[in-house]
């Protein structure tokens, strides 16, 4: 699988509204680090949503992790989502589950044994410096801590592709630094492809990356 994401002429809208994305094309190779930037409301999150199948394109072709979106079945979509690690803008942590259980979610879905799930959750929570809050519930954590838990969850099952929607928006410097280091580490050490939607690309990232700019529903590659 040369390309992890292959999108051509995507046209995406919410319901019957006017399309937000009118022509988005991108080709992302394995182990690439990609940024999509653009103004607020330009449709950056819409693109991410279409990549994990929350929204489906009206026109155009889309292939993610070797799975084509044309007439995709729910079982294929579930399979695709198990290849992905998604970091949502609003964290999407399960309130009635502890931090540890939240991190274990993709592993439980993947059918791993409890001991593997626990071991991996502990390892990642140590990485995000939240091992001491393992038994806390999401509502007991700050926004930055919740995002770090979401980050640990996205990495738990060693995904092929990480999709991060504004992962550091509204976060303090320390939490932002932890998140960027984790994303960088995932690319460098695990060979994970990373796609981040953000307002600003951090100046101190220190890795090669590909940059797309979204404007007027069209995705432009910035050279």
């Amino acid at each position: 699988m040369e390309y992890v994401i292959k999108a051509s002429g995507l046209n995406i809208s919410y319901g019957r509204d006017e399309p937000i994305i009118t022509d988005a094309s991108m080709q992302i190779k394995a182990q690439e680090f990609v940024f999509i930037t653009g103004k607020s409301g330009s449709g950056k999150s819409t693109i991410i949503k279409s990549l994990y199948g929350e929204l489906f394109p009206n026109h155009g072709s889309l292939n993610v992790c070797g799975i084509d979106f044309k007439n995709i079945s729910s079982s294929k979509l579930n399979l695709l989502r198990r290849y992905l690690g998604v970091v949502f803008q609003d964290y999407k942590l399960i309130d009635e589950w502890t931090v540890e259980q939240n991190v274990m979610l993709p592993l439980i879905i993947g059918g791993f044994s409890k001991s593997v799930c626990v071991k991996q959750a502990h390892k990642l929570l140590k990485h995000v410096k939240l091992l001491h809050k393992i038994n806390k519930y999401p509502y007991e954590l700050s926004g930055g801590e919740q995002q770090r838990v979401a980050m640990a969850r996205a990495l738990a099952h060693n995904p092929v592709l990480i999709l991060a929607d504004e992962p550091t928006g509204n976060l303090d410097t320390y939490s932002s630094e932890v998140i960027w280091n984790l994303l960088k580490g995932a690319k460098e050490h695990l060979g994970t492809t990373v796609l981040v939607v953000t307002h600003n690309i951090p100046s101190t990232l220190g890795i090669d990356y590909k940059h797309y700019f979204l404007e007027g529903g069209v995705l432009h590659e910035v050279s």
Binding site: S74, L80, R81, K92, L93, I94, I109
Partner: protein, 269 residues
């Protein structure tokens, strides 16, 4: 507290549903038992100038179970004081034969009339008493009672089903966020609905055990037995293996179907 009451709303509804289902079975059994009792008590009296042969009668009227002659000795004994022995002997010779015809099942009014006409077709038979009115009235009353119980049970069960679906809907909405997050990580339908299945199954199972316990214990209570004896009805014994198994199986099947329908309808993400 809210969680406990939500469990009770499923448990009580399933209990009512299973209770009404089993109650119709009990009523059916009681009515059938009573019908047998009526059949045993019921007989057609036939007066014939000649002796009647059971085989020949059965050929014409298949529902005849048995035929027995009613002895005229009692009538003659009563007349002993008023008549001379010579006249009594003459009367004994001239007296027709009385028969009691027992049937296999309770015939309806129409069928009784058909039986009557068939019997009258036999030349030796001079008179028939069917007691149709008394028998019809009692049996109809029992059938009416059974129908009323069926209708009542149907409405109770219908309301119970609505309440169960409503509670599962509430649970599905309560867990919708968790289910949608799980969906975004590729959880299958059954995995994300596992909690709903577990809650509904446990509640249904507890209810079915409670219904089984009630129907096992209730007929053994002295107050219930005394009441049944007063009404001259026999309460059927609860077969834990067959009837209990049916109730538990039905409750599990119903829980699975209800959760699948509701969460498929609401939980689409």
């Amino acid at each position: 507290m809210r969680s406990v009451s939500s469990h009770f709303s499923i448990m009580i509804s399933v209990f009512v549903l299973l209770f009404s289902f089993q109650f119709t079975n009990v009523i059916k059994s009681i009515v059938n038992d009573y019908a047998t009792k009526i059949v045993n008590d019921y007989a057609i009296v036939v007066v014939s100038s000649n002796e009647l042969k059971e085989d020949e009668l059965k050929k014409q009227i298949p529902e005849i179970e048995s035929i027995s002659e009613i002895s005229s000795k009692k009538i003659l004994d009563r007349l002993k004081n008023d008549m001379s022995s010579k006249n009594l002997a003459l009367l004994q010779v001239a007296l027709p034969k009385f028969y009691s015809l027992k049937l296999e099942s309770i015939p309806n009014k129409k069928r009784i009339e058909v039986i009557k006409q068939k019997l009258l077709g036999i030349t030796s038979i001079t008179r028939i008493e069917t007691f149709a009115k008394t028998h019809e009235k009692m049996f109809k009353m029992f059938l009416l009672l059974q129908s009323m119980v069926y209708i009542f049970a149907f409405f109770v069960a219908f309301v119970a089903v609505l309440l169960i679906f409503k509670q599962i809907r509430i649970w599905t909405y309560e867990h919708n966020r968790r289910m949608s997050i799980m969906t975004l990580f590729g959880a299958s339908f059954f995995m994300k609905s596992a909690m709903l299945y577990r809650m509904t199954l446990v509640d249904s199972l507890l209810s079915s055990i409670a219904v089984c316990a009630l129907y096992t214990i209730a007929p053994k209570l002295s107050i219930v037995q005394a009441y049944a004896a007063e009404l001259d009805i026999m309460l059927p014994e609860f077969n834990l293996l067959v009837e209990g198994g049916t109730l538990v199986g039905a409750s599990i099947a119903f829980a699975l179907i209800a959760v699948t329908i509701v969460s498929r309808k609401i939980g689409r993400v």
